[in-house]
Subunit: 162 residues, 10 copies
Amino acid sequence: MKREDLTEKLLDIKREKGWTWKYIQDEIGGISPILITAACMGQMKLPKAQAKKAAELFGLSQAEERMLNEAPYRGSIPQMPPTDPLIYRFYELVMVYGTTWKELIQEEFGDGIMSAIDFNMTMEREPNNKGDRVKMNLSGKFLPYKYYGNEEGVPEYGFKEG
Amino acid sequence: MKREDLTEKLLDIKREKGWTWKYIQDEIGGISPILITAACMGQMKLPKAQAKKAAELFGLSQAEERMLNEAPYRGSIPQMPPTDPLIYRFYELVMVYGTTWKELIQEEFGDGIMSAIDFNMTMEREPNNKGDRVKMNLSGKFLPYKYYGNEEGVPEYGFKEG
Amino acid sequence: MKREDLTEKLLDIKREKGWTWKYIQDEIGGISPILITAACMGQMKLPKAQAKKAAELFGLSQAEERMLNEAPYRGSIPQMPPTDPLIYRFYELVMVYGTTWKELIQEEFGDGIMSAIDFNMTMEREPNNKGDRVKMNLSGKFLPYKYYGNEEGVPEYGFKEG
Amino acid sequence: MKREDLTEKLLDIKREKGWTWKYIQDEIGGISPILITAACMGQMKLPKAQAKKAAELFGLSQAEERMLNEAPYRGSIPQMPPTDPLIYRFYELVMVYGTTWKELIQEEFGDGIMSAIDFNMTMEREPNNKGDRVKMNLSGKFLPYKYYGNEEGVPEYGFKEG
Amino acid sequence: MKREDLTEKLLDIKREKGWTWKYIQDEIGGISPILITAACMGQMKLPKAQAKKAAELFGLSQAEERMLNEAPYRGSIPQMPPTDPLIYRFYELVMVYGTTWKELIQEEFGDGIMSAIDFNMTMEREPNNKGDRVKMNLSGKFLPYKYYGNEEGVPEYGFKEG
Amino acid sequence: MKREDLTEKLLDIKREKGWTWKYIQDEIGGISPILITAACMGQMKLPKAQAKKAAELFGLSQAEERMLNEAPYRGSIPQMPPTDPLIYRFYELVMVYGTTWKELIQEEFGDGIMSAIDFNMTMEREPNNKGDRVKMNLSGKFLPYKYYGNEEGVPEYGFKEG
Amino acid sequence: MKREDLTEKLLDIKREKGWTWKYIQDEIGGISPILITAACMGQMKLPKAQAKKAAELFGLSQAEERMLNEAPYRGSIPQMPPTDPLIYRFYELVMVYGTTWKELIQEEFGDGIMSAIDFNMTMEREPNNKGDRVKMNLSGKFLPYKYYGNEEGVPEYGFKEG
Amino acid sequence: MKREDLTEKLLDIKREKGWTWKYIQDEIGGISPILITAACMGQMKLPKAQAKKAAELFGLSQAEERMLNEAPYRGSIPQMPPTDPLIYRFYELVMVYGTTWKELIQEEFGDGIMSAIDFNMTMEREPNNKGDRVKMNLSGKFLPYKYYGNEEGVPEYGFKEG
Amino acid sequence: MKREDLTEKLLDIKREKGWTWKYIQDEIGGISPILITAACMGQMKLPKAQAKKAAELFGLSQAEERMLNEAPYRGSIPQMPPTDPLIYRFYELVMVYGTTWKELIQEEFGDGIMSAIDFNMTMEREPNNKGDRVKMNLSGKFLPYKYYGNEEGVPEYGFKEG
Amino acid sequence: MKREDLTEKLLDIKREKGWTWKYIQDEIGGISPILITAACMGQMKLPKAQAKKAAELFGLSQAEERMLNEAPYRGSIPQMPPTDPLIYRFYELVMVYGTTWKELIQEEFGDGIMSAIDFNMTMEREPNNKGDRVKMNLSGKFLPYKYYGNEEGVPEYGFKEG
């Protein structure tokens, strides 16, 4: 059994039942709704309690329930660059603003990155009389590069004389 | 003269002067600070007034000032996937969450995309006692796919009989 | 069920019945004929009314009808550059004229793009005694890059002091 | 001397003089304005008369004038897929509508292609109260695949017995 | 039903029957033998009369017969560069002689291309006492780039004042 | 000035002086010797104090000293897969053992990653009578995927009703 | 039967039984636990004795047992760069530190490589009050490039006069 | 000195002098005119006598003359697939007809290839009242795969018992 | 039926029977043992007599026997660069020594190549007290580039005056 | 100074002096002639004594002499697959025979690889009345995969309980 087959099965059931993601998120509950959808799409795991609820909702076997609770092999949209226009626009933002983000984050925080692991986000509809907007709030922990060897009591790392 | 040579020159001056982006943004002013940095990085243009101020600040020739006011050939980070870890993490977010974003935005708004053109953003330091976080707020206009031919008075588009 | 399997099924039925696209477009009606074909090819959705008509015409299940009404994962021709000569010629036009289009559109409209979302087109046979021509009329809304922060009352975006 | 260096030189002069493409097109004249810009961008040649006028306008050497009259090695935007958003949108149209174009053109004309060589186009600003539109008219000669051997008097092609 | 499955079926029958291409070409007849093989390989269509004969020869269904009469999605050898040595040698000729062909064809004919659509060819065994040779004769119509706007009565193409 | 030019300059001086990395590491000191070499190779920054010492050692300008203190655009070995055999072997380890590492780390720690940012390492010569061995000790902080929304007091993230 | 199908089968059984890798490693025993997992993942073979134990544990056929004892076609994670974040971090280490490793290993050992064949490793949880760490110890034999022809009694290699 | 710089120099002189390839071929003479152009384009060598004549014609140094007599690193058109339409059409022929050529050549000659090394060609203008045609005659020696071990007196190749 | 399915079938039978390649080579006999294995791996054909023996040995159908006698579409290892370490080492040799081979072969033989078609090889175990070695002897016919037009009686090839 | 610039310089001197590789190999001597050429091509180092002789022969600076003694960043032929026909043929051998080599070497030696590091080779002209042949003898040490944990006294490697 492969995770993508499970994803396809969940989407088939969702279509046949006429469910929305909102409904599925409410039924499973307990964690961020975005994560619930991401797990159904095969990119996140569901914690045990949520996997159980999902199994009840979708009528899954025990093996399928357990698979939903496994950390999947992430990142498998069909190909990069993404061919779908909605997803491509985000890819484009990375190309256009990537170096700017690097400059500004590292000026503010020093050498390091914004974590994509200790990370959460919300999405909202932002009403606007020129046309509503998609508003996304991303929040990732800043992780500084560690310059080991610079502190007291840290073993000096590197090539040591034998 | 190529835009990337101008970018390199601006970064050289910034380094020699010991300026921060904050300082450059304040000196030029008038538009979003992120756009000012993006323009210096060769990914946006500066409006005329800002290009003039940038020219005074950096001591640029008239041709260089005009080039800053041109829409650049965007998107030229050295290669994709980005090899720099800070920028790669955003690329990873697109791979991991891209299909989820598509599902949820299209459930909320219908068939369409979040614009990467009518788009703005802020970045903030979000204090947190487990480690400060980078907070990014993205806001892009939702653009619905137009299903032309569906409305009154719209010429029926398609292959017409000669 | 995957969208490409549905596409294959529709093409099988079209072949077996000996239908033309013209016939299918007329039977489904109500939107641009090009969009009807694009939806059958798995690149657009059909609005609900059209999906219903398509289901009747092709004898589809309810799940298949609903899938036709979903925004598909777009852009999936087998590979890029396209190996088929008819499609490649359009790809070639982008390579040969792309920079020219950029220069001329941005001179006329300023910094921005021609939308591929708020976009429609017609195709016509243009009789010509040296050989008939394919005439395509593309019409896309111009979307200006927004230089936020430049207007009154717009929150100043960028890295803000905490 | 390489064609891209000549392109860079022409753009430098255009910037320094503060010329528009409109002005350059009017000065050189005699052929489609789009072709004049395309030639300056290194993608078309200028016919002799136009190359001479361009040389006078830009103050070029005889060798540069001759180079403008040569068929260039076409198609050299920096990389594909194009990273610039304006050009990418056209690339996206090929991915989304390419198979549809193939279906409809071949239904109308039979097996063959729309020529990208015997091809011309116009661009216009289409005023629209929801936002002006870019209107492009493409016209390419239809070239049918020749099924040789099917006509009288055509030598039968293929592997012949020695 | 996919065209490549039909190709596989035809090759299976050819193998089981022990037929040669020569035999198949003679049975179907009426067009260039090379085109008959190309159509069986899924790269050309067979005209109606030939598709009918092929259906009789191979014992095909009506749907399969119709598929043979459709313009296929061309160009789908497994990958490029071709890994098979026989096909690679042709690819190599393009790499080694491509720029030379461009120089010489354009010196002789002016700016344009040799058509790959209005194109035919023969192959022959050329006896040679140092080892027989494969002789291929390619013949493609020269298609000149049209420099529209240069002739009387042709509408001036380009960006027009609104 | 580009970082790779500075790297080339440092390697030129090292060669001319006949220095070893051991010598350079001892002269600069204060942080892990591996980081010192990595910074000279353009992949890490040197903290201010170390950048100053490096500037004295190599006789650098103030601008070059400052550049050494900047977070570089990382990851730019000439191409991936790496063509150099020594580096390729590490790439091969990722291909051969990557899925195993994923299985075992996630079984031990749960869903998450080993950080490549909060990361340090040593290298040692491991004497062995069948041939000495390279011993590398990698140590990276485990970063768990956060399943936000699962804890008290955390704002529920996801698409919220407007 | 393909090795990846066997891998999928083993993972299915592991999931259904609710086993951990620890349990599987203990049951099979006799070689490094990492190798046991790597073999189940299709990247290593199991020695005969271990393959037999695995067959008993998982209830495999004789052919499957023999396949586990074959040297697999290694290296087949779905694509490179790896899209899964856990595995990508190791790939990133190669990009960031690769040239540094080359410099330091070759300074210490001379021209050569660290073997990825005569190679072993351990992984450990390293308790740390700022968050536990993944500790990996890699140990590979150093293999010096042989400069043949430099020693007594070694045939002089190279192009020899006929 | 690199071969592509020499190519650029020859093209510069050709342009300045206003020479045609026909003229250069006649001046150098003695071998196929196509090879003379190919050598000037950096894809073939010129035999000694021809290199000498070329050196006199173009006014080259002795080193440049010798370089013309060296076997170049072939095949370096800027990128594949070729972006120039004239060259691309040949690439397309390989994609569309490649498998057909394989089938027909191997049916006629057995297992083997058409040599791209023992190869020559002509090009001609083929007058035609529907538009002149480019006619190319390719002639390559057929090279059969050798099934060694099949003949008398041939040492049996393969893995031999030690 | 596809050649790779036949390859998989042969490997399945070999595994089930517990045969070695040595055994299969001896049973089939008559040509180089390496070629026999290569044919089973789907990269060479077996001559008729050998295909017959293989069919008896493996219990194949007539269609399968005929397929073994067909020239396969060669070169289809899963991807290049090869991910398997054993095969990659040969790929690496090409990268490291390729330009050297070119220099030395062309100095010795003149402009041309070593044939990969008229080619044979042996492999031997070379006993060595520091560890046995794999010894491979490659022997390929040198094929000189033909500089046509240089000899008597050879038609002068090139663009001829019409 | 980059290694490829040094390579270009050595080739320039070789050409100007009219030297052969044979001459250079004899002058430098002491190691395999193939390695001497490989080092001049930037793919191997020269041992100290040989670097000194090379410096005298070519008239190099001390820095250049030292660079010749450094382990280069190997493997940098312009691109893979190699476009040059001579080098491509070796690449093709890997594609066609790679899986066969894997099968036969691993049947003879067990799981492991032929080293490309502890590796040497000769090349010879093999006279043959059907055309002389290039004969290459490759000899690489067999390196067995180590199944650690399988022997007495070897620490058990793997994930250990903390």
